[in-house]
């Protein structure tokens, strides 16, 4: 009975195999290359806080925005069967609104921070709803629909900033993107955990995940079963927008300024990649959020590994591309079925031998 349960659990989670193997491979590679790669040390940073540093922390910390966006992207991918390529641009807009409100405030208290966050959430949700409306009501492919905001989003951010890159200095903001005084672990890691728990709660206490999968697999049938496909697609875009706002705020918190051109640049590509590495079909339908999160950490682990190997940051992409291709080739249906055929052959051969032995 127990082995049965394990079998079921395993068959339901086979898609996580590739990201898990990839992360393990990276860990082993790094440990061989440098046994102290994952050592964590307690140091004192510029602000006089006791903080943990090390490659492991920088992987977990650096992947925060990506992991949050990948979660939202998974929902959009599943429901709409396409990807939102405007998340980077939308994050720039959200960040600009965030900074604008903080700059406008007389003093930055936790309440202004929360108000600013809610405001930038609202703005991001408006843009998300715009994308969602194009996709769900007008039936436009997600990539095309979001191409609009991708094209002009950063210019809108520029316009909000009035053509400058305003900076905000506040210990509260620093705590958001860096460390809360007295806590040695970077705040973004906690934010990812909170977001993941929120998603888990939403999936546990609503039927969101079933509905989104049903809409993604067969929209017409879903509608005839009383599900509102337009609403579900719209909702997935709005949820992604909230993720975008959170990621934008973290990013602003890290830098203490908003640069419309470079804030979370090309993050949409990484987010889509995280979804794919996590074993989720980019054509929509069934999904696993945990896969996308693992995918995000895989990408970041790879990046940090390359940095540690002294690869210049602009050239990292080339090596990343090779690893990505290897991962997707291993995960491709053709290779998978060929491998399983080979496996069956070996197994069949084995059982044949056994039978022969019996005789």
């Amino acid at each position: 009975m127990k082995s049965n349960k394990f079998k079921r659990w395993f068959s339901e989670n086979t898609q996580l195999l590739i990201p898990v193997i990839a992360i393990l491979a990276l860990v082993i590679f790094n440990l061989i290359r440098d046994p102290g790669f994952f050592s964590i040390t307690l140091t004192v940073n510029n602000d006089g806080n006791q903080v943990l540093t090390g490659n492991l922390i920088s992987i977990l910390n650096g992947a925060s925005e990506l992991a949050i966006l990948a979660m939202g992207m998974t929902l959009v991918t599943a429901a709409a069967g396409g990807q939102d390529i405007s998340v980077g641009a939308a994050a720039a807009i959200a960040g600009s609104v965030f900074v604008k409100i903080l700059k406008g405030a007389a003093s930055i208290t936790p309440w202004t921070l929360i108000f600013a966050f809610l405001a930038c959430c609202a703005v991001a949700m408006i843009f998300g709803a715009f994308n969602g409306t194009l996709v769900s009501v007008f039936n436009i492919q997600p990539m095309i629909a979001t191409l609009i905001l991708y094209t002009c989003g950063r210019s809108i951010a520029y316009w909000i900033n009035g053509g400058a890159t305003p900076t905000v200095t506040s210990p509260l903001l620093k705590a958001l993107g860096g460390y809360i005084p007295g806590v040695p672990v970077p705040t973004p890691i906690f934010i990812v955990i909170i977001v993941a728990i929120l998603f888990a709660l939403v999936f546990r206490f609503t039927t969101l995940s079933t509905y989104i999968q049903a809409v993604g697999i067969n929209q017409k049938a879903a509608r005839l079963n009383g599900i509102n496909p337009i609403g579900m697609k719209l909702l997935s875009f709005v949820i992604l927008a909230v993720c975008v706002a959170i990621a934008g705020c973290i990013s602003v918190g890290r830098l203490g300024l908003i640069n419309h051109e470079t804030l979370l640049l090309d993050i949409e590509m990484d987010a889509i990649l995280a979804v794919a590495i996590g074993g989720n079909a980019l054509g929509g339908g069934k999904f696993k959020l945990s896969g996308s999160i693992l995918g995000a950490y895989t990408i970041q682990a790879l990046t940090i590994t390359l940095y540690a190997m002294k690869v210049p940051s602009v050239s990292v992409k080339a090596y990343k591309a090779i690893v990505i291709i290897v991962l997707v080739v291993i995960g491709s249906p053709v290779v998978k079925s060929a491998a399983s055929r080979l496996w069956a052959k070996i197994k069949g051969h084995g059982s044949l031998q056994k039978e022969v032995a019996k005789v």
Partner: protein, 504 residues
């Protein structure tokens, strides 16, 4: 006699992991005959066809084809290879490209050279279409033709490729009577030209209308080959099912007597929708089984879709149990205890990648609400109950529904609606494309539901089924209700007459 044979298959064997799909099957096709290949689902018809078209490779056995009077053994490696050897297939789902023109669809990937000669292609296509009397223009975009015409264009393509063997796999299942007649005309023309046609269908009447010979398969084995005159319809069914037809005859419909003074379960007046422009009135009482009948395209599906709110409702008043309500979306209808099993199972019914369990509980889950999901164990209990009750054959509750056979998929969808305990259930072609055994089960289920007080509206292309189950029939023609038959009037001959409109 032997000279007439165009295709011979001898001792065909094939097995898939765990299943012997065909064992020692022989099949013979003569020149200029229409040969029906019959059998229940899982009998091995489609496997045999797929071997012939090169989709599967046989484990053992021989295939011979006649070329200019000499017989030669062939091996078929791929669909392309089959075509080159003179075996063409027209599938149920149109396998043409809707974005190309008619002429292109006929000539694509044929002929020599890497350039396309548009002028010649369009001229040839025009001549071909005219010769076969197909109402299409060569430069028309294929997507703008009706389904029947698209099907005929697919046949025209096959014919023009000098095929000796033409396989028609369920070509009529989405055509109306007029279109079927058109298709049969074309088939007879081809027969006269000496093409051997293999015709696969679920419609028994059509077999007797157009075929010369029947080969029956059951459980992957050959039952026999028969001349059509020597095999009456009842015997054919018996051969296909492997037992005599007492199952079908022991079903008896009870006379329906509505409860006095009770408001109808559902009542509509002047209902119209975007796809059903003519207003119609409709009502059904508790425990009644009624049906919409008429030719395909007569508006029967559109009518029930309007009742369920599946299309955009544009007008009319609706009452449930005597109370006026508004139904403009499926969810409204569901909340009033109405269930709707859609006509096209693949498109409107199953959620292919979700498990049997998720598919069964879907409708009930939606009714229960977005914020109140079923726990895994609750869902499993429900699914388990209905898998048992309807004898659904599935490996486990977690199996994706797409890997089930058609009949079992249909039972899952039925289970989905039964689980909501509807007071009124609409079944649109629940028996289409599934084997006879399951058909009978579903008909029995309908009668049992009615006994339990559920109202059922039943639609089927097979009039016999309607006669067996319905106590009241609404006959439709040209998107209008043209007659209502009650009780003893529900007879095949009367229905035919009303549909044709020749009675008066």
């Amino acid at each position: 006699m032997q000279n007439d044979v165009v295709l011979k298959m001898r001792g065909i064997n094939i097995s898939f992991p765990g299943v012997k799909a065909l064992s020692d099957v022989d099949f013979t096709l003569r020149k200029g005959e229409i040969h029906a290949l019959m059998g229940e689902n899982g009998a091995g018809k489609s496997t045999l066809i797929k071997i012939l078209t090169g989709v599967y490779t046989k484990d053992s056995g021989q295939i011979f084809i006649d070329t200019d009077g000499t017989e030669s053994e062939i091996t078929i490696r791929s669909p392309q290879d089959a075509q080159n050897k003179g075996i063409s297939t027209v599938y149920q789902e149109i396998t043409l490209c809707p974005n190309l023109t008619v002429a292109e669809n006929i000539y694509i990937s044929r002929g020599e050279g890497s350039l396309v000669n548009w002028k010649k292609m369009e001229k040839d296509a025009g001549a071909l279409l005219e010769r076969l009397n197909i109402p299409a223009r060569p430069r028309q975009q294929l997507g703008s033709c009706s389904l029947a015409v698209q099907q005929m264009i697919a046949i025209a393509r096959a014919v023009d490729m000098d095929c000796k063997v033409l396989i028609l796999d369920e070509p009529t299942s989405s055509l109306d009577e007029k279109e079927v007649a058109m298709l049969f005309g074309l088939m007879r023309d081809l027969k006269a030209q000496g093409v051997g046609i293999i015709f696969v269908t679920h419609f028994l009447e059509q077999v007797y209308e157009v075929c010369d010979r029947i080969t029956v398969l059951r459980n992957g084995e050959l039952v026999g080959e028969y001349e059509i005159e020597n095999l009456p319809q009842v015997q054919l069914v018996a051969k296909m099912m492997g037992k005599e037809l007492d199952d079908l005859t022991d079903m008896d419909k009870k006379e329906f007597v509505p409860v006095q003074d009770a408001a109808p379960v559902f009542e509509a007046s002047g209902l119209t929708s975007s796809d059903c422009p003519n207003p119609f009135d409709f009502s059904i009482s508790k425990g009644e089984v009624n049906g919409f009948t008429g030719l395909l395209g007569s508006g029967r599906s559109e009518s029930v879709r309007a009742i369920f709110g599946a299309d955009r409702v544009t007008g009319g008043k609706v009452k449930v149990n005597g109370k006026p309500v508004k139904i403009s979306k499926p969810i409204h209808a569901m909340k009033h205890g109405i269930g709707y099993l859609a006509e096209d199972r693949k498109r409107d019914g199953i959620i292919a990648d979700l498990s049997v369990r998720e598919n069964i509980i879907l409708a009930l889950q939606v009714l229960k609400g977005f914020f109140r999901p079923f726990s895994r164990s609750e869902a499993e209990a429900f699914a388990e109950e209905y898998v048992k009750a309807l004898a659904i054959k599935t490996a486990s509750l977690d199996t994706p529904i797409k890997s089930l056979s058609g009949g079992n998929q249909q039972k899952v969808i039925l289970a989905r609606w039964l689980l909501t305990h509807p007071q009124y259930l609409i079944l649109d072609e629940p028996t289409r494309g599934i084997d006879i055994g399951t058909k009978v089960e579903i008909q029995k289920l309908v009668l049992k539901l009615a006994e339990d007080g559920v109202s059922v509206t039943f639609i089927s292309s097979e009039i016999e089924e309607m006669v067996r189950t319905c106590s009241r029939l609404l006959v439709m023609r040209d998107r209008k209700i043209v007659g209502e038959l009650v009780g003893p009037a529900v007879q095949q001959s009367v229905i035919m007459k009303t549909i044709a409109g020749g009675g008066d």
